[in-house]
């Protein structure tokens, strides 16, 4: 058993490649056999990943899913921000400049619209749950923007730790739901071309959610959605602790 652990821990990134490879193979077999290709193999793989992350989190009490299990630590590196961003940028290879220009204005509008809409929805939910403190309402609203904007805003305007934790949880729910929900609703919201993918990325904003959701819908759309989504968190961090907080304070 000792030998196992030594080899797995020392070669954790290589172990991650093997484990993810097997997971994807199983997912594609399942997609073929059980759904006759109706559900994309990568959608099943992502769902399996999320289920595994849930049990990993429950078993270890950590905050990085299966990566908290020592033998699977390499998944933390493979699925971490650095590798994610590297691969996202690589998907832009071969994208035509003209496609980007076509959706440019709609893409920019969608980023601001997306931040505002998610914030308002989150803030209204906070009010419905009985919050009256402007800092708390703003922080929960910002959490509905993304799980990064929530704590950044909360810390800047002095919200309580409980509220900040809540805002992170709201952002996580959003991110996971976008991963699972995108392939299911894609048909109904017209998500089948570069322009709507850019609008989609700007409206959703959660980079992880958009990255996984589009990968499970149509990998060709990934670079377009990812491009606008990566501006979203920055815009959220800009507006949350400033204009949005002032507006909420003025109302309450």
């Amino acid at each position: 058993m000792d030998i196992f652990e030594t080899v797995f821990v020392r070669n954790n990134l290589v172990v991650a490649f093997a484990v993810i490879g097997i997971t994807i193979w199983i997912s594609y077999v399942l997609a073929d056999r059980l759904t006759a290709g109706r559900i994309h193999g990568s959608a099943i793989a992502i769902a399996l990943g999320l289920v595994a992350a849930y049990f990993g989190g429950v078993a270890t009490g950590g905050s990085t899913g299966v990566a908290d299990i020592a033998l699977l630590g390499g998944i933390g590196l493979m699925g971490g921000g650095m590798m994610r961003d590297f691969a996202i940028v690589a998907t832009a290879f071969g994208v035509q400049l003209s496609e980007l220009k076509k959706a440019g204005i709609a893409g920019v509008i969608s980023i601001f619209a997306g931040v505002l809409v998610s914030f308002v929805v989150g803030a209204v939910v906070a009010i419905l749950f009985g919050y009256t403190d402007p800092a708390a309402i703003t922080t929960i609203g910002s959490g509905a923007v993304t799980y990064i904007v929530g704590p950044v805003t909360g810390e800047a305007i002095g919200a309580s730790d409980t509220v900040i934790t809540l805002s992170v949880a709201a952002g996580l729910v959003k991110s996971i739901l976008v991963m699972i929900g995108t392939p299911l609703v894609a048909k109904y919201i017209g998500l089948n071309n570069p322009q709507s993918a850019m609008v989609f990325g700007g409206l959703m904003g959660t980079t992880s959610g958009v990255a996984a959701g589009l990968a499970a819908t149509d990998p060709k759309l990934v670079p377009y959605g990812a491009m606008t989504a990566t501006f979203y968190t920055g815009v959220g961090c800009l507006l949350g602790p400033s204009i949005l907080f002032f507006i909420v304070s003025a109302i309450y």
Binding site: I24, G65, G79, D85, A113, V199, A226, G234
Partner: protein, 124 residues
Amino acid sequence: MIVYGVALLSGCLILGMLIGESIGVFLNVDANVGGVGIAMIFLVLASNSEKFKALTEGAAGSGIKFWSAMYIPIVVAMAARQDVAGATEGGLLAVVAGVAAVAVSFALVPVLSRIGSSAAGNED
């Protein structure tokens, strides 16, 4: 050489991240503003330009395509390291806020896409 393409990809990401970080400092925001998006624009410009042909064609191009193809496996690993347990522990408020934000945003996709296509239509 495969590594030339990988190096170009790395260069784009590093440059984009530096610019995104600088915008963050300039705006006094504790976040990288669009670093990845800016890096993607650099890669699109390079792959559409004659000058960078040596770094984007043949074997060098395969170096970039490899990482592009590794995107889905990396996303699966990313899903496996999310704090799913933490999200479910946030209770009803977190779930309602998250679900409502996603539902409204989904509904807006066709509305804003229409702005995009009508703007493009006017240009034509």
